[in-house]
């Protein structure tokens, strides 16, 4: 193909990516801001009186964020270190548990928490004879910590895997015991990763509305209030205003995060180096960490087991019995929903990973300023509550020329662009690993930029594309916040059905759907690891 023609394709591709980010991320954001700030054409700030009148909401959100951050970071550090120091077998088990629990369908975990740890909880009351109210801030903090810790631990484990082992060997060679090594070497070296994990937890806690809704009791937070403004009060402006208030601390924290992220090159999904470090498993600190990690892992396992158990059992007059009724009952509601959900997840997984990669290509290989700005914008959906992004879409796309409400397309676009932050970060870390000279070689041999994308960027990013695909797929399978306001009757997705049946009290059926969602995600994840390990083996043979 003549270069002129390729130049045009190249330009068009970039334009398309940039435009899509402007339209599908920035514009919805602006729409929310506009709704919150502008009334009848003039700036109107009266809605912000919430800040004063209900300042306790802000306080609640912030303190919950801080507590959750501390707790989930602590747990994830313990798990990561325990993992790091374990044998390969134990590592596999831990990673298995983490991978299973990283897929956490909303609501179900919180409900299973009440079931297990409530006033009449199976564990608190049934086994320990305690009658503690599970509601309130403590419940939220515990549940959020439980939900975030798996992802955090996986991030930390990935980081530890990249650490130069000679740090530890040097310390040993100088006489350091296990406790010293953890205290003096591992923890300080983990600092940048820990910071990232803390920031992520804080942002996620701020934007979580479903946990407080279920187990908040009288304790309310901003994100939930925004959600309730819509469903109870029918007041979108109030919701937009609250979202905007939430956006500010999240944005500040996010700026800090960006700074850190650059120094944390790869935060890959569980593909840590197989070789373990050899440190004697002894000492006070190690045992503390081990107990903490095992405690958490057991806790999370029990919760998931209870979900799965709920799918297969029911209660009658206080007696538990095995049944497949929930499956039978759920069949009706999910038969056509599941294929559609998988389809949507599939498309959003693929599209977001491809767009993420190409965006990073323009931003960091081609060094276009405009693409770098887009890269920043592309990260914004990560830091707002899902409902914010959903409301943004309704507000932005309800009138021509971009009248998309009511179509499946708007749902797909929404979930796709919501996954973009993750995809682009993964894309960045892969691209930064590709040798620049490999790219230069193409041009050196006479190939146009277009061929760089086609022949180098894509083939070499295969495994990271797959990671971000799996992530996008999994997230879309379990997402609800951002699409709950977008979906029309004919586009219902699995989580919404789960939401519905749980709302109508059929916890058992909800568990079945949760179980199926987890299963689907596990199969997709498993496929990925299967392919990856086969590739690994093929390499080893040579």
């Amino acid at each position: 193909m003549p270069n002129k023609f390729l130049d045009i394709i190249d330009k068009l591709l970039m334009l398309l990516i940039l435009l899509s980010i402007l339209v599908f991320i920035l514009y919805p954001f602006i729409s929310v801001f506009k709704t919150a700030l502008v009334e009848n054409g003039s700036i109107e700030l009266s809605h912000f009186s919430i800040i004063k009148q209900e300042s306790y909401l802000i306080k609640n959100s912030l303190t919950t964020g801080i507590y959750t951050t501390i707790l989930s970071t602590l747990f994830s550090i313990m798990i990561a270190i325990y993992y790091y120091m374990s044998t390969d077998r134990v590592k596999k088990i831990i990673m298995g548990i983490l991978m299973l629990t990283i897929i956490s369908p909303p609501f179900v975990t919180s409900l299973s928490y009440i079931k297990l740890f409530g006033k009449r909880g199976l564990i608190t009351y049934g086994i320990l004879g305690l009658s503690i109210s599970p509601y309130g801030q403590l419940g939220i903090v515990l549940m959020q910590s439980l939900g975030f810790t798996s992802m955090n631990a996986i991030l930390l484990i990935g980081y530890l895997g990249q650490l130069d082992k000679t740090f530890i060997e040097s310390a040993r060679s100088l006489g350091a015991k296990t406790t010293d090594i953890i205290k003096d070497i591992i923890l300080p070296l983990m600092k940048p990763a820990i910071t990232v994990v803390m920031l992520l937890s804080f942002i996620r806690s701020l934007s979580d509305f479903s946990t407080p809704r279920i187990i908040g009791g009288a304790f309310n937070v901003l994100a939930t209030e925004a959600y309730l403004s819509v469903i109870a009060k029918g007041d979108i402006r109030r919701a937009a205003t609250i979202s905007l208030i939430l956006f500010i601390p999240a944005m500040i924290v996010f700026m800090l995060y960006i700074k850190r992220f650059q120094s944390l090159s790869t935060t890959q999904h569980g593909t840590s180096s197989g070789e373990g470090i050899s440190v004697k498993k002894e000492g006070f600190l190690y045992n503390l960490i081990k107990i903490g990690a095992i405690f958490f892992l057991v806790w999370i396992l029990i919760q998931y087991a209870s979900i799965i158990m709920s799918a297969f059992t029911d209660m009658y007059q206080g007696k538990l019995y095995f049944t497949l009724d929930h499956f039978r009952e759920s069949k009706l509601s999910i038969l056509d929903v599941f294929p559609r959900t998988i389809f949507v997840s599939f498309i959003s997984g693929i599209t977001s990973s491809v767009i993420g990669l190409i965006l990073e290509y323009y931003a960091f290989i081609r060094n276009y300023k405009s693409a770098k700005i887009m890269d920043f914008i592309a990260t914004m959906p990560y830091i707002v509550p899902g409902t914010f992004f959903g409301i943004g879409y309704i507000l932005a796309f309800n009138k021509p020329p971009l009248e998309l409400t009511g179509t499946l397309l708007i749902v797909i676009l929404n979930v796709t662009f919501r996954q973009l932050p993750f995809a682009s970060k993964i894309g960045y870390s892969t691209l930064s690993q590709i040798n620049k000279d490999t790219i230069n070689s193409v041009k050196d041999l006479g190939g146009h930029n277009f061929y760089v994308i086609k022949d180098i960027i894509f083939p070499l990013s295969k495994s990271s594309l797959y990671i971000s695909f799996v992530n996008g797929f999994t997230s879309t399978m379990t997402t609800i916040g951002s699409i709950i306001f977008l979906v029309y009757p004919q586009q219902k997705l699995a989580t919404m059905v789960m939401f519905d049946v749980i709302e109508s009290g059929k916890y058992g059926v909800g568990s079945v759907i949760a179980f199926l969602i987890i299963l689907t995600c596990l199969i997709v994840n498993g496929l990925y690891y299967f392919l990856l390990s086969r590739k690994g083996k093929a390499k080893n043979v040579s």
């Binding site: 409530g118 009449r120 469903i231 009060k233």
Partner: protein
């Protein structure tokens, strides 16, 4: 296709037989081949009814569960664009508000005359599909542990001895609980009603943010008394978990559940056909079955539902017309009363 509706006659009893066999009737029959009706509804449970209708008129029916508040704010956010054809279920107040906002289309169904005028809009913008009645779900065992007896009236419920044992959902979210508040105000009268609510509020540690909260949390043993919509499932649940369902003796609040057609929707004609379909006796019975309703909860006279022992005479004499108009005022006052819960 509005004309087609009118041509169709009232279904005769013999057709009913044929339909129950799942067969077409011999008379002229509506056919919406290749078309679709979208429904927003309150629950998944109506799927059977929708399927039956779909089969009868040869159309596809898709539905989505959504709370009334959500329906209204979404339509508003989307600039008045209808999000479905049919709106099926949900507290009548939202329907009244939607009518005022001009979001609904008027239609007088064929059997409208057989429905008590209290249960339908005079101008035909909405019609009720049944009544939600409010009662208590009680965990006797728990009460016994605390040495408390089972409350049978609203009056008793406000007794300080039940402090911390009662769960109710936020009336802004739950239509049932809005009905409870509205019913109490109608029963006691404005002033006394608020005084009562204040007393009740002292007994309630927090208000659930989901409609199902009271029921679920009572079942889970988190609370001894839940204020719930009473229907067959409540009784089933009670049996399953050793609980008791109480119709309050001093008055049962209630609220009609609305059905309406969205203005300018593509499938308005199908939705109209559906309302006619729904009002047919055999389908009313099906609906009663699906909803788990006592016959007394149905809007058409003489429909037999479950026998749940609903004492019709104890239904509070409510002013339906102010259900929608007073909503905002009631809720904001209520919110003031309960700040922080």
């Amino acid at each position: 296709g509005q004309g087609t509706d009118n041509k169709k006659d009232v279904t005769e009893p013999q057709n009913q037989e044929a339909k129950e066999d799942g067969n077409t009737n011999e008379e002229e029959k509506l056919d919406f081949e290749g078309r679709q009706m979208n429904v927003v509804t309150t629950s998944e449970k109506y799927v059977e009814l929708f399927d039956q209708f779909a089969k009868e008129v040869n159309a596809k029916v898709d539905f989505l569960s959504m709370s009334s508040g959500e329906v209204i704010s979404r339509i508003e956010a989307e600039g008045g664009k209808p999000m479905a054809d049919l709106w099926f279920g949900g507290g009548i107040d939202a329907f009244m508000a939607a009518k005022d906002a001009g979001l609904l289309e008027s239609y007088i169904p064929k059997e409208a005359d057989k429905v008590n005028s209290q249960f339908r809009d005079e101008e035909g913008y909405w019609i009720a599909k049944g009544l939600t009645v409010v009662g208590f779900l009680v965990n006797e065992e728990l009460l016994k542990e605390k040495g408390l007896e089972v409350p049978t009236t609203w009056e008793e419920l406000a007794d300080p001895k039940y402090k911390g044992e009662i769960i109710m959902a936020n009336p802004a979210i739950s239509g049932t609980n809005y009905a409870a508040v509205k019913g109490i105000l109608d029963m006691y009268g404005e002033e006394e009603g608020w005084a009562y609510l204040e007393k009740l509020n002292n007994n309630i540690p927090f208000y659930g943010k989901r409609g199902k909260d009271p029921e679920e949390k009572t079942v889970a043993g988190e609370f001894a008394i839940g204020i719930i919509p009473v229907d067959k499932t409540s009784f089933d649940l009670a049996e399953k978990h050793n609980l008791t369902v109480i119709y309050p003796e001093d008055g049962i609040p209630w609220v009609p559940e609305g059905v309406a057609i969205f203005k300018n929707s593509d499938g308005a004609d199908i939705a109209k056909a559906f309302i006619d379909f729904m009002l047919r006796d055999e389908n009313q019975e099906k609906l009663a079955e699906l909803d788990g309703k006592d016959g007394a909860q149905m809007v058409k006279e003489g429909i037999s539902g479950y026998d749940l022992g609903l004492p019709k005479d104890r239904l509070i004499d409510q002013d339906i017309s102010t259900f929608g108009t007073m909503r905002e005022a009631i809720l904001s006052k209520w919110e003031e009363l309960t700040t922080g819960k």
